[in-house]
């Protein structure tokens, strides 16, 4: 498959207001990882960044808001054209990536 063909088949969606393209069938987490958006949410208590961890729907770390619906598992939901994905922040608000981490930050 040529690059141009691939590009024409890309799926466009939105992440925190930014336009992102992914390949059809990709999960939200994988499509975001591919564009180096690794921080998917900031935790409620410690404002710590979290992202893709187990990749199979077990850990619930990759929770994002999709089209207004909170706590969707980004590793399980496939991307769709026009989908609006937002990061979750403390108290369920759409937050920005945190810089603190749990314990291991240097």
């Amino acid at each position: 498959m040529s690059t141009s063909q691939l590009r024409s088949e890309m799926v466009q969606f939105e992440f925190d207001g930014r336009q992102v393209q992914g390949r059809p069938g990709q999960s939200v987490a994988a499509a975001l990882w591919a564009v180096r958006e690794a921080v998917l949410r900031t935790t409620a208590e410690h404002q710590a960044p979290r992202g893709y961890f187990c990749g199979m729907g077990v850990c619930f770390d990759c929770l994002v808001t999709i089209d207004g619906r909170p706590n969707c598992q980004a590793c399980l939901v496939p991307i769709a054209a026009g989908m609006q994905v937002t990061r979750q922040g403390p108290a369920g608000t759409s937050g920005t990536s945190g810089t603190e981490s749990d314990g291991g930050a240097s």
Partner: protein, 492 residues
């Protein structure tokens, strides 16, 4: 034979349900169909295959190796007159008389079964260590998913760490897709493997496969650091480096000889934990083991659990890998067919014989591997007091230790004292490691500590879904309501 139970007297019209379409579930369904029986397979993924034989989400750019998963998928399709596959469906509850609560695209419904086979598989065991919640730290399985199914490189400098042959498998998968792998850190020391050679030699084919992986890694120029352990992950907002130290036979690191390695992705896993939620909801009796997760369902020689009519096969019944899972699925299929009266008990015995022989041979090899990978106490000492141990509820090790010194030495009491395990993952991530920590501290046997308790819904569902409304524009408030409901539930 033993599947003579209090379960209803079956007939051709027996409603047979298999949960999980990994190697065990697929093999069970195929075996049943080969005996002319109708079976429904419920699976949460979009396509059959499970985690190990996952169907690629995006078309692969490289021709795929002939994979056993593809062959099993073809067999499922060949029997499509008898096998109904409900993909994209989660079992959220199991009610008395083998009634399953299913959540799928069409909403919630009840599926009744005369015989129920649970084949839920396993997930990776990652005990807490400083920095393990940083984005960029993931399981080897998650990295394998990215590269093999999603067509995405997990990083530009990837380190694999933990123990077991799966690290080698993932390292090679990454290398093949031109992802730079900076090394593999395994707690195992070379001499440990040497002492297990007699049992590993029990299966020459598998031993050769293992050695092929080691050779593949060597040829790829990937450094293999045996007898080492990752003690922490560090970075601001994203993983930037890990600290690696040599460790002793108990996996206790020598911090004085530790050194940093610059990476952007760490794939870490120390084996696999059987998924117990379904067996628990079905009321199956569990038994303690020394393997990750600590507990497996009690079964008879045909995979039937303590609950009549409920069977289990594959990694969810005790982790042993895909080859064993497929054979176990065949065995359970025969057991179910016999218990339905579809085949004579003597025929089931006869057909089972070569399968049991092969399983017996594999079990010696497996025991060798299990002993090599059995958890050592150094692993449960990696977290410091500020390390988050419950990723969902953000409970720190210090809070847990405080509760332990106040006398909470069971999973149940720790949960009530700290909220550990009360988030959406229901303790899948934190409780096995927490139980292990209590055990390593000498605070009781695994029986004393107890097993992680699951409650319906096994995966979060909205009130709307439960009511069969299936409204994609679900009110967030309703979703929250369900979460609160379980929290109260699980604390009771």
């Amino acid at each position: 034979m033993s599947p003579d139970s209090a379960a209803p007297k079956p007939s051709d019209a027996s409603r047979l349900v298999v949960v999980g379409a990994g190697p065990a579930g697929m093999a069970t369904a195929i075996t049943l169909a080969e005996r002319g029986l109708k079976v429904t397979v419920v699976d949460q993924n979009p396509r059959p295959g499970g985690q190990i034989y996952r169907y690629p989400a995006v078309p692969s750019t490289k021709p795929r190796d002939p994979d056993r998963g593809g062959a099993l998928r073809e067999l499922l399709a060949e029997h499509s007159d008898l096998i109904t596959v409900l993909s994209g469906h989660n079992v959220v509850g199991i009610y008395p008389e083998r009634r399953l609560g299913l959540c799928g695209p069409e909403g919630f419904r009840i599926l009744e079964a005369d015989r129920l086979v649970l084949a839920p598989g396993a997930y990776e065991y990652v005990p807490p260590f400083p920095g393990w919640t940083l984005p960029g730290v993931m399981t080897p399985g998650a990295a394998q998913q990215l590269v093999k199914s999603q067509g995405v490189a997990p990083g530009r400098r990837v380190l694999l760490a933990g123990t077991g042959p799966f690290l080698l498998v993932v390292a090679l998968a990454l290398h093949e897709m031109s992802v730079p792998v900076v090394g593999i850190v395994d707690t195992l020391r070379r001499r440990d493997a040497f002492w297990k050679l007699p049992s590993l030699l029990a299966d020459g084919k598998l031993l050769k496969q293992g050695l092929d992986y080691v050779n593949g890694v060597r040829k790829a120029g990937i450094p293999l650091m045996t007898g080492h352990i990752v003690t922490r992950a560090e970075g601001r907002g994203h993983l930037e480096q890990v600290v690696v130290a040599p460790c002793d036979a108990d996996w206790v690191p020598n911090h004085e000889r530790s050194r940093p390695i610059v990476v952007d992705t760490l794939c870490v896993g120390y084996g696999f934990v059987p998924r117990l939620g379904l067996a628990q909801l079905a009321g199956c009796e569990l038994t303690a083991t020394n393997l990750p997760g600590g507990w497996i369902p009690v079964t008879d020689a045909w995979g039937q659990t303590s609950v009549p009519g409920v069977f289990t096969a594959g990694d969810g019944a005790g982790v042993a890998g895909a080859i064993v899972a497929e054979l176990a699925g065949q065995l359970v299929g025969l057991g179910v067919a016999a218990s339905c009266g579809a085949i004579e008990a003597s025929e089931a015995q006869r057909s089972a014989e070569p399968i049991r022989e092969r399983l017996h041979q594999l079990s010696r090899f497996r025991r060798g591997l299990d002993e090599l990978g059995s958890l050592r106490k150094g692993l449960s000492q990696l977290a410091d007091e500020s390390t988050v141990v419950c990723r969902c509820e953000e409970i720190r090790r210090g809070e847990v230790d405080e509760a332990i010194s106040s006398g909470s030495t069971t999973l149940r009491s720790l949960k009530m004292a700290t909220r550990l395990g009360m988030g959406p993952c229901q303790g899948r991530m934190c409780q096995p490691a927490c139980a292990r920590r209590l055990y390593d501290l000498g605070l009781g046997s695994l029986e004393d500590i107890g097993w992680p308790a699951f409650r319906p819904p096994l995966v979060p569902v909205t009130v709307g879904q439960l009511a069969g409304l299936n409204d994609p524009e679900q009110e967030p408030a309703e979703a929250k309501l369900v979460e609160d409901a379980w929290d109260t539930d699980s604390a009771s």
